[in-house]
Symmetry: C2
Subunit: 541 residues, 2 copies
């Protein structure tokens, strides 16, 4: 026997419809590639999204067709989010930080039909256009006045022109909520990038989950600035959540330096932001140098890689901005956990609360987790035992797009590739990536805790801890350090800095200083390159 409530599919278009009807005059503010600040509202953005949907249909885009973007965070990108998915087509957000060859591989693998791009990426698009065999239309995301006078791209279309050529009389189609909505490739460190194909259902459910009080806590009183790019797992879902709750949306465009971000935060009354640790270093550096204070900022979500405790303390203790340490993956839409206190923690002292916040957090409803040993047996949630982390839930990947390798699931669970502990309260703490873990005499040493300690040293700008060959223990930790400009610290001083902060046998065996640590396209340290660079490093014995 079925219930007798209305059957309405969970569709992405319902988010912009809700924002238009119930929050029509709420602002969407963007720093544009063209250099100025642009202001619009959900009412206008919804109308332009409908015009854009008609324009795409006129270009031949149908249900299931892929429309690619190479774009910063901005209102035109948000219009594409709704126009493409709302029409039943698939929004494919390409990462412009990838090598051009990878962009070509991914666009070809996805069989993108249309490519929309910000003017910043015109040189990249010109360089690869001839190799994009499936792309039939190229659209520059700008107005007529800013269109390039000449371009190597034949028949280059102007975004604002194709929008203006349509009226907004368009009703969003209804279809099965399991229909594909958006596509995002993971840039793994090995093998070809793999596509993660989200559905309308998974996206709407994920949007509910991240807007909840114990996740990103989004409301119609917030002004949300996603620093995390819209080409990186849909800016962690914030362009959807903002519509669901009627929040003001502020887009930084290409202005991701500390000064540009800080000025936009202040000018637009930003209350919530989100990004990876590396972007916040620039902002904190600017604020420190200029003795600046936030007027309206209340919390920031930090994820993508573990937030160094020193950064968390700077935000919370110095600037009174709550850090929401969160964890997820492209394969998880992306949010899985958030480190939000429970009622039982409220009476604890500052340091005890900080220890909870420094974990990757507890699962949002909808996500379940487990840690397992090498035989796949579930391990206890004692905060001590570490094992491979697996997850499942309605916004977690079942299989990759075009599924060349077969489903990655293990008994219905997705293996994250992370090694973690989980405590009795469900707080998960990632100790390492399974490929980065240091296997010392049969025991595992997590590299992340070692890096966090090193990063807390005032002379250290960035630190990576990698496994180096050891004749007796097989592997031992080697600390790779990039010093802050002008700062000095010796190998011995750094090693002594670990005293009392960690088990003695976890202390790195050696330190090497480098000018730069290689970062991937999403800002994460590329430890595989470091391992390659130091594969012949001789540890002291």
């Amino acid at each position: 026997m079925n219930g007798q409530m209305m059957q309405q599919p969970l569709l992405i278009s319902s988010l912009i419809v809700h924002a238009e009807r119930h929050h029509g005059d709420q602002e969407v503010v963007s720093r544009r590639v063209e250099g100025d600040i642009h202001r619009t509202t959900y009412r206008e953005l919804a109308a332009r999204s409908r015009q854009l949907a008609k324009a795409l249909a006129a270009l031949g885009v149908g249900m299931g067709d892929r429309v690619a973007t190479l774009a910063w965070n901005g209102y035109r990108h948000m219009e594409l989010y709704y126009a493409v998915s709302g029409s039943g087509a698939v929004l494919h957000t390409l990462n412009p930080r990838l090598h051009p060859d990878q962009v070509v591989y991914i666009a070809d693998h996805a069989e993108d039909q249309v490519l929309c791009f910000d003017l910043t990426f015109l040189p990249l698009v010109e360089a690869v256009a001839a190799r994009l065999t499936t792309v039939k239309h190229f659209v520059a995301m700008t107005d007529r006045a800013h269109m390039p006078a000449t371009s190597k791209i034949p028949n280059l279309l102007c975004f604002d022109d194709i929008v203006a050529a349509q009226d907004d009389h368009f009703a969003w189609p209804s279809f099965d909520e399991n229909t594909a909505s958006s596509l995002c490739y993971t840039s793994g460190t090995t093998g070809n990038p793999k596509g993660v194909l989200y559905s309308h259902r998974s996206t709407v459910l994920h949007t509910f989950a991240i807007a909840m009080p114990d996740a990103l806590n989004c409301s119609a009183r917030d002004s949300i600035l996603p620093v995390v790019p819209m080409f990186h797992v849909n800016a962690w879902g914030l362009p959807y959540a903002a519509c669901m709750v009627g929040a003001k949306m502020v887009f930084p465009g290409p202005g991701l330096d500390g000064k540009s971000l800080f000025e936009l935060f202040e000018a637009e009354g930003v209350t919530v932001s989100a990004g990876v640790p590396t972007v916040w270093q620039g902002l904190l550096g600017y604020m420190e140098a200029n003795n600046a204070r936030f007027s309206t900022m209340r919390r920031t979500v930090i994820g993508g890689s573990a937030c160094p405790p020193a950064m968390m303390r700077a935000f919370q203790d110095k600037y009174d901005v709550q850090v929401i340490h969160a964890w997820g993956m492209t394969e998880m839409s992306p949010v899985g956990t958030a480190a939000i206190l429970k009622g039982k923690h409220l009476a604890m002292d500052h340091e005890a609360q900080f220890a909870v916040q420094a974990t990757q957090g507890r699962a949002v409803y909808g996500v379940d987790m487990k840690i397992v040993d090498a035989a796949g047996q579930a391990l206890p949630w004692d905060g001590q035992t570490s094992g491979e982390l697996l997850v499942r839930g309605p916004w977690i990947l079942q299989d990759y797009y075009r599924s060349e390798g077969g489903s990655p699931l293990v008994d219905g669970w997705f293996p994250t590739g992370d090694v973690a502990t989980i405590d009795a309260d469900g707080y998960m703490h990632i100790t390492d990536r399974s490929k980065d873990v240091i296997k010392s005499g049969g025991e595992w040493i997590g590299s992340i805790d070692l890096e966090n300690i090193a990063m807390a040293h005032p002379a250290v700008a960035m630190a990576a801890c990698i496994a180096a060959f050891h004749p007796k223990w097989d592997e031992r930790p080697l600390l790779v350090v990039m010093k802050k400009p002008g700062a000095e610290v010796t190998r011995e001083e750094l090693l002594a800095f670990f005293d009392g902060k960690i088990a003695k046998w976890w202390t790195p065996d050696d330190v090497v200083f480098v000018d730069a640590i290689p970062l991937g396209a999403t800002g994460k340290m590329q430890k595989n390159k470091l391992r390659e660079a130091f594969k012949s490093h001789q540890l002291p014995t």
Copy 2:
């Protein structure tokens, strides 16, 4: 093309599984019918729910079978919420305040197989048991020590005994999320009660919606005490939301007087409550008489009928408790709107904010509304034009159970029977029930605003405004007033009290004083009875 995320049905069992795994030691505290305070945790409650599921299966309860309850808010009732729905059976919460004949009609109509009841309702159950033709098993929700020594009910089972007879090795079954989960009858003022049959999908989506920051804003730092009964639209969804977010749950049992409630609020650190206006009068009366203050209460949800502004001011201005004025219906699971401020309101003065909070609020995401004229044409959202209110969304009724009358929908929208305005920001204000509206010379006068003004008079305990026959205008407002004990006020003083508060022609034509205003089973004023009582009332002309 479909997305490639995991296919997991949205099931009610997932809520208790989440609470058990991620908030296992969170407390569930109940004032028992037996007289004491009982304490348990989600871990224990989840285990007992599984035992109970096995016990019900042993009684022959299968997928789709209806299991009825006649019970206060308490942990055993919550165990039934999860055991019954989680098994794929249908939880049917009977309203013990109904007339026994109605209880019999409803239980028979629902074809209930099992009836579980609190000891309070033993006399009621004994009185009707012989007439409950479909009920095969009667279960007293108590332990062995409190079982009645003798009972007119043959083979009366003991709840704690049947639970204890099973172990907790039970895996919640997986099934289609559209499966019926729970059944609640509306006690309309005319015709037979009608059943609203919720599904697992509608329940889980509604749970997300009510837990959001701009709805009931529930988190793992909250201690939630639902005063609204679990037999009244599932206590507005709070027993589900508490599990979703890991909040502490506090159940008042039969102790709904001001003193019992206040003491439980204080003892259990309650932060959030919810109930209809009539229950709050007792609490506020007790607090005033005892000069009491809340220590931990932060907000209360008031719905079911419009909250008198004077009550809202008492909570907010005197006791610093935010009132969330909310609106919904049994047919809406029930929440449709909540009067939460937007960012644009934060800079307004106190009275301007109060005016926003005094509306029924704006739609939560998932619910859409419109107001229409007599011809069904949509009316503008200008805060002035009133019309019949219609709603739609995935937790709104498609058709009543066993659908005798055919679907009530109009072009896919559910007609609420309310008359309302909606302003440009989406805030809806109910001016009347369509059957209560006073049609004076072709114009509509909303009775609720008139009642709210009368209720603000210090001598008035309760006031109803009804249509009375008028030879010239067809209908004119007649104010029916119940005075506070010992208070005095004249007809003339009351009518003068309306001066300057409302359009002159809306002022009631007459006042009658009564000893009591009849209330229905859910605490709402029964205006149909008043109209009947005063149908021959002669208005002054």
